[in-house]
Symmetry: D2
């Protein structure tokens, strides 16, 4: 890995004007030096079906292969997601399920951070907690601190969709800095972090 | 509600020959008296997108409306699901997300039971736990006991896909009986269980 | 059971002036008709040790037996607890562990409700979630709605420790009413709710 | 930190002959080179009470101060624990609560690993999951892989309490090796891992 870091940004919401997509775009403006982020959509990923996956199928759906390739090329992942029914949106989890398959999964041991926004009071606490097990299973390297829990999101963006809340901006910057550090750390130690056990 | 009970059965796996679909089919052969179950597929439900949902759209996608109608007409729900990344499969969660929307959600206060099969050792414990929050949010009436955790599933079905393990059969029967009781209970008490608070 | 309902109230905090003890005392002033509540302390319960429990010991410690007796005599339980390390305080969990033992556990299938206060922003969401598994294991009958999550507690009590926040008062009243309903429900149906499976 | 690593071992069970204490003792026989482990008891730690903690009290109880000192002197922590009511034993959580307090908490950013044994089938999966939030809150550095989930423990120890199951032995060794690596990693990077944000 070079010193330059490439992130992938995923929004858990597909709707136009989603606060979480806005939060992701705000994060793209708050990146540390030598870090870039490509935001990609999960809207076209089909429902996971093992019959369409290896080894049952000869190849995965093209959109899935592309998704996995983008993740594989990235040094880390930033997810911004709403909370659906006190948990992770099904569509986002579905994308993760596709990416998680196989020994060549691009998620294995990948640094990752989750942030979330809601118009409610509790800041997506349960959605963020619901990711613990996923990260554990895939031996991902989550950056938990600082937690970015954006409550009452409608008060924190202006009419043009720009993040205006200074506290949130500061926390997002710290989160991205911590993600950068985690990526450098893993890059330096290489095999040490690779426990080769799933 | 009449004395006759109609269940909907959902499999969390879309693949042909899924152990969880087989488990669901086995459950359909183990129903209590005066209970029937319709197994429906979630394979055609699109990814949730609030732009396609009310009130942004004038109507929901037809397949979603049909799914919600079937759930609304049912007295209770039985889910049989694998565990993906120590959690609920995204496709299944996605179907639930669509069904959960609106004050007329067919999931509100609905009796539900979850069972699960895996070729692994731990019996889908984490998948089943991941449903707690979903049920809480929707004020659903989960039937937790007895827990049906089918480990090493490949040993518990014959080559034709029939459930042959007697312990599992017995537990599934007890689970269905408990679900039936919960449905009768809620039917009897009606408004008492309706806390009218979400 | 008579029409009169007796609750036990437990605070998860042992400190003098605890917001959660104050919240519990406020709840005792907001009880529905024909409901009373005895608040008891868990401060003297020793750490759980199976060597001091049946069948290894001939009898449990006296303070434990008294605690179990009070729980057994009650129709339902109200817990008010802080969140320690994003989970249930160890002391409170320890009391529950003692009460949970044996086929004559007073917790089995008992109606229960949890409320919580914190000076932080997120209202004890994680503490309340951490109870799901405990309730599931013991087949308790939790009353989840409405959720009572008291954030920034210092703003919601006056200098004399009285709960002054009207929204919180209303939610506590609704919670107690829902708990009363659950107790009546279970009383009416008796064996129906008793799945006899742990 | 020198190259020599000192671990602290904690058992979540207080009973004589506990499988988890035996598992911890087995781990002490399977340590990597240049690693030692001191097993300490949590049996004498009082229930957490903020009135006995700083700043309300001038000093913490002596047994608590000793416990915190031992943890502070250690490079990492190994917990072996049963599952009580599908969660962490209250006594163990209570010890953690005491150790977690204050900016000088010896748990902050400390490498830690959890293993667990049960006579049941599901290997303490839920207990281990219940630790996620605790570790997140304290920014601890958990070593999740490989998972050591010892089911049907009575078959895996001989009559003298020695761990005889070779698979378990191998997993414990790998876990300890991974913990050692995490400790070295954190030692090398120092401030990089210190996000200074709780």
């Amino acid at each position: 890995m070079s010193d330059y870091i490439q992130l992938v940004g995923l929004s858990g919401s597909l709707r136009t004007g989603s606060y979480n997509t806005l939060l992701l775009k705000a994060a793209a403006q708050l990146l540390p030096t030598d870090v870039s982020m490509e935001i990609i959509s999960i809207a076209d990923i089909p429902l996971y079906n093992a019959d369409l996956d290896l080894p049952a199928a000869k190849q995965r759906p093209e959109v899935v292969e592309h998704f996995r390739k983008v993740l594989a090329d990235a040094d880390g992942i930033l997810i911004s997601s709403p909370e659906y029914n006190y948990s992770v949106p099904g569509g986002l989890k579905n994308a993760i399920d596709w990416a998680s398959r196989g020994e060549d999964s691009p998620l294995l041991r990948k640094p990752i951070a989750v942030i979330g926004a809601t118009t409610g009071l509790w800041g997506t606490t349960r959605m963020q907690m619901a990711f613990h097990n996923v990260f554990l299973f895939l031996d991902m390297k989550p950056v938990y601190k600082p937690e970015v829990l954006v409550a009452q999101a409608e008060k924190k963006f202006d009419k043009d969709g720009n993040l205006t809340d200074e506290t949130t901006k500061k926390l997002v910057k710290q989160k991205l800095e911590a993600l950068k550090q985690m990526i450098h750390l893993q890059s330096q130690v290489g095999d040490i972090l690779d426990t080769k056990v799933i």
